[in-house]
Point group: C2
Chain length 663, copies 2
């Protein structure tokens, strides 16, 4: 049970009693296994019960206090991890539940993997133990003030000096300042810095270098290194706990062996040589990072949906002409038609994330066997899923906030902070538009190769059925026919393929392939989205065709799968009209199955009140007294008469405002 100990009355008990499935088994389906439920539960409680990890005051702290609080939490988390001898799985979950962006995210999530992926055996042996024990703190310094998605445009230089056997790291312009890296501004002692490698007068493009930034004695920046925080970001609390930083180098020298040399080296003489390690190996890391972003999307969405569903069951409005109680907002069709597809999306993203996890293992094994045949398809699939799930989740969190009405605008609802902290996911690790255009490029290539008989693989295999899909007619006659997964999947396949083929034809009419791609890029984006939505629907359908234990659990998931598919069908009706049409009746049909189970479906996410961080989404539904109590904690309420009354209100009210002397 996720209910806090202090809560006495469950205001949502009637909702929970009405649910038609086994919530405990749904928790297992959501988390992936009984073990996963248990360990997450244990870590969530550990965090929630520790006063150092309180976060209810986060939006009220000044930037400096918030940052200091983040340092404190990171140190305390590390202490607990060491003391309790937590496993890596447990430690990761503990950090997840601390739920406050900070330098450790980049240290573990980017610095360590970069050294693992791009460092030689020797480099790994030197640097990883230091990082594992936090004797150094590292970050990942890639983007610059004037350069984001286009890594090849970076301006920072690393010029080899054969006289001293060193690289000279330098920022030649203002726009070459490193800008955005998390943990860089205040916390990190080291960074993996990406710079143009120049040796023997030649520019060999972007490479990674391990650079020490701060003294390990007193944390002051080393000579030639300028460091700072880039300033406040969207929201209060939220991502402001992170010290995203700016960094400039003035001819900073590092030993040659701090270039990450797994893929290529510079010799003592200054020769640039490639190693025999295929560079495709780097894709493994990218697939890993992106699958974890998709997993994070389902987590963030599940929190927003949990808050909105519970509060919609508590909030009552209208419907009391006869003086009776008002209607629960959750009973309104307008609320259901906006909220339930988001609930279904949370489950859809969860399952496609699980599948991506499998894909990562598969890609890793193939890479180790030097089989690169599925790499492109895997890249398209992870890039596209990253783009679609993060964009949808960002919009959906804001939609959940709106679905909570006015109170969703209060920080105590948790939703403003959840939104503000989540939206950068649309930009980092590949801007979503840039990623979808990459997907589109691969789709164009795949379609052009169909003629030569090359069979597409994996998530693109359906494109091999091009002749059938280009002319198939949808057999759906009644609303109920749409509940057949075969019909749904075929409709999604036909829509995606027709959009892709249509784009390919238009692109081929242009004066050049590149010109055509440029002209048609808005349509290409839409085709890429259609392809990715097909993948999500397909993986959801595959999931619900498996054995899933627990009373009613499988039925609920089947219904959510229909809600999701019909929602996309309705939203993109224009795309689908070639294949048939859906009636509003169906959407309503599926939603009716969700209504009695809505609260239990979000309970199955198993979020503690601490992790949710929302007065509106409390497990016990005791919303109004909690809102009232929260309000009084605002610093403005420290005094009854506000500061500024004597200077600015009283003179106004007493008509004693001093006019300027010149009048």
């Amino acid at each position: 049970m996720a209910m806090d100990a202090a809560a006495e009355v469950d205001h949502l008990a009637a909702e929970r009693a009405a649910a038609r499935f086994d919530v405990e088994e749904m928790k297992v389906a959501w988390a992936g296994s009984r073990h996963a439920v248990d360990v997450a539960d244990r870590m969530a409680r550990l965090v929630a019960s520790d006063p150092v990890f309180r976060k209810d005051n986060r939006t009220m702290l000044s930037r400096k206090d918030l940052f200091k609080d983040t340092l404190r939490k990171a140190a305390h988390a590390w202490r607990r991890i060491v003391e309790l001898r937590l496993t890596e799985e447990e430690a990761n979950l503990l950090r997840l539940y601390v739920d406050q962006p900070g330098y450790v995210d980049l240290h573990w999530g980017m610095f360590v993997p970069a050294i693992k992926g791009q460092g030689t055996e020797e480099q790994q042996q030197k640097w990883l133990p230091l990082a594992y024990k936090f004797q150094i703190i590292g970050c990942y310094a890639q983007t610059e003030l004037g350069h984001g998605s286009n890594v090849q445009g970076l301006e920072t230089t690393a010029t080899f000096d054969p006289k001293t056997d060193e690289f000279v790291i330098h920022s030649p312009t203002l726009t070459s300042s490193k800008w955005w890296p998390g943990g860089l501004g205040k916390a990190s002692t080291h960074a993996v810095v990406y710079a143009r490698l120049i040796t023997e007068g030649k520019d060999y493009g972007i490479h990674g270098f391990i650079v020490q930034l701060r003294s390990l004695v007193d944390h002051s920046p080393l000579p030639g290194v300028t460091l700072g925080d880039i300033g406040g970001k969207f929201g209060s609390g939220a991502y402001n706990s992170m010290d995203n930083g700016v960094l400039q180098f003035d001819h900073v020298r590092i030993p040659r062996d701090q270039m990450l040399m797994r893929l290529s080296q510079v010799t003592r003489e200054g020769k640039y040589v490639h190693s025999d390690v295929p560079k495709q190996l780097l894709y493994g890391t990218m697939v890993f990072v992106r699958q974890s972003i998709v997993a994070d999307a389902s987590k963030a969405l599940s929190r927003a949906v949990c808050i909105a569903v519970r509060y919609s069951a508590i909030r009552k409005q209208f419907g009391s002409q006869d003086g009776g109680p008002e209607t629960q907002v959750l009973n309104y069709k307008t609320q259901q038609s906006r909220l339930f597809p988001l609930l279904a999306s949370a489950y859809a993203f969860r399952f496609v994330g699980d599948w991506l996890n499998w894909l990562y293992t598969d890609v890793t094994q193939k890479l180790e066997a030097k089989d690169f045949s599925t790499l492109q398809e895997a890249h398209a699939c992870t890039a596209g899923l990253k783009a679609v799930t993060t964009s949808v989740t960002a919009d959906a969190i804001e939609e959940c906030r709106k679905l909570c009405g006015g109170h969703g605008y209060l920080n105590s609802s948790g939703l403003p902070e959840l939104f503000a902290v989540y939206v950068p996911a649309c930009t980092y690790e590949g801007d979503n538009v840039v990623l979808l255009l990459q997907v589109a490029r691969i789709l164009m290539k795949t379609v052009s190769q169909l003629a030569s008989g090359k069979q597409p693989v994996g998530t693109m295999a359906y494109m091999g059925k091009v002749q059938y899909l280009m002319q198939c007619k949808c057999a759906v006659n009644t609303a109920e026919d749409w509940l057949n997964p075969v019909a749904i999947q075929e409709a999604f396949e036909a829509r995606a393929l027709r959009m892709v083929v249509n784009c390919a034809q238009n692109v081929s009419q242009a004066s050049s392939q590149e010109e055509g791609f440029y002209e048609r890029s808005p349509d290409l984006l839409e085709a890429a989205v259609a392809h990715i939505q097909l993948i999500i629907v397909t993986k959801f359908i595959e999931k619900v065709q498996q054995d899933i234990p627990g009373d009613g659990v499988k039925e609920q998931l089947q219904n959510l799968c229909n809600v999701y598919a019909l929602y996309i069908l309705h939203k993109h009706l224009g795309d689908f009209l070639a294949t048939g049409c859906i009636t509003p009746k169906q959407g309503a049909l599926a939603n009716e199955q969700v209504r009695p189970n809505a609260v239990a479906l979000v309970d199955a996410f198993n979020h503690t009140d601490h992790y949710l961080g929302s007065v509106l989404g409390r497990y016990d539904g005791n919303v109004y007294p909690a809102l009232y109590e929260e309000a009084w904690k605002d610093p403005l309420n420290e005094t009854v008469v506000p500061e500024g009354y004597h200077e600015y209100l009283r003179p106004l009210l007493k008509q004693q405002l001093k006019l300027s002397s010149r009048l």
Copy 2:
């Protein structure tokens, strides 16, 4: 020229030189008249040049300092208004450019109009002079903790006590606490309080009462009055400058004559009587408030679009395979296809807002003549336009932020604050979903009366052409045919009417009208939106059919009108497919006309850098040095080694974290 004096180089000069229209004349078309341009310009500069009105530090202030800063600005603004003997038009503009939500907004925007609209002549003579001179500060206390859109559900009571000739104002429950009113928490001395009027044991429903809340001597709450701020809200800076408040009454007594008695009275004996003033008069105020919200939507959208267009012309990315300069982001079709429709929407909302202003005058004149025949249509139109323009604007600001890439996430971009301060417009003065359902109800009624020969009026007149519109076939054959306003308008009319008629048929099949309306409410929402989009397109078309002076100005507006219409057509393609189809070619066609004029089109909004408040949207385009400079102002940068280093980073790095004693 909106450029700040300090700027020396115009980094956007080439963009401005390439524009194909007269920007000065476009400023007139945007503002409405030469006079409007001039007076706005004068007030904007007055505010921008006054150090008291600085706002670049707003997101870094603590809640208390931000609130105090708001009090200071309000007092200073009032002083300047008095000193300079500003007209009402000038004073309103000055407050607009101060651009910081505060108690004065509610004082002038809600408290004074409520007394004007609902007070008797006598009450107006007593209270308005006090309010006009700021001898009292008033707010508007309607919503409660448990009650928002449903005014009839309010719980606060005002019970008449004939013994003392007083009303007893009381909050019987926690959920009856007044909650949200702006200016209530800390600043207001008085409020118009909405409460259930009870006299002679009978509940007469919701009425307004003028209630003093705070002592005019020392600002402390009066006996029986509990007052506080409801806590932090979305974003930093943003709406946190406002003291949205909570208020509870414990049997607070007020004289009988503080009930607002224009429409109904309670006599000395406690009899409830209606006056002969028709209650429809109250609609005038509602139309006025909503037309100003539509005008505000175009202002907010114009700011976001201005920032995104200018920055997209400065930002360069990719496209430099040959080592040449990268491509301006504004040249990418994917950027254009997302950004230009929003630019066109800003103009569309501006012109429909102008028209609503005319409608308000028209409604007022008709009300004075006791002609209520167009009231329902005017209500549907203003409610619907409020809902559509605010929802679109909120989403569009966030889209503009995303279009600015990573840097849009920084507070110095101005976009996070613009979004956070704007979104409540979707909820206040009528939740958008509730309003659209009201529109839908009127549409259903209008369609049902067609059979009886009742001709719809005003913006619903097109529904009279039902027989033609239900079967007309769209004559568009080529992409260019869509640029004909007649074709566009007919397509929008046919789509809206068919959706409305389709809903009406489905509703009529239900067991009852009410049940049908409830079941079909998601479709009804979509039909209402289609009707409102038709109004926006129609008013834009009407605008560009007028004489508009200035080289190329009319042509630009015609093109923006096409961009807007084609964008809606593309976005709601599913709705339109019954009437024809559009090709991507057209969207591209229209966008091509916008590209060379994009920067000049946002210059025509005439926003000062102070009002825009965005480093990315600077008039001179000198973005990167400004971003760099802003970063160093963050409080985190006050020290090179951050606070917390000695407690939380050094012990970690030195492996000296003290473990708990129990280990």
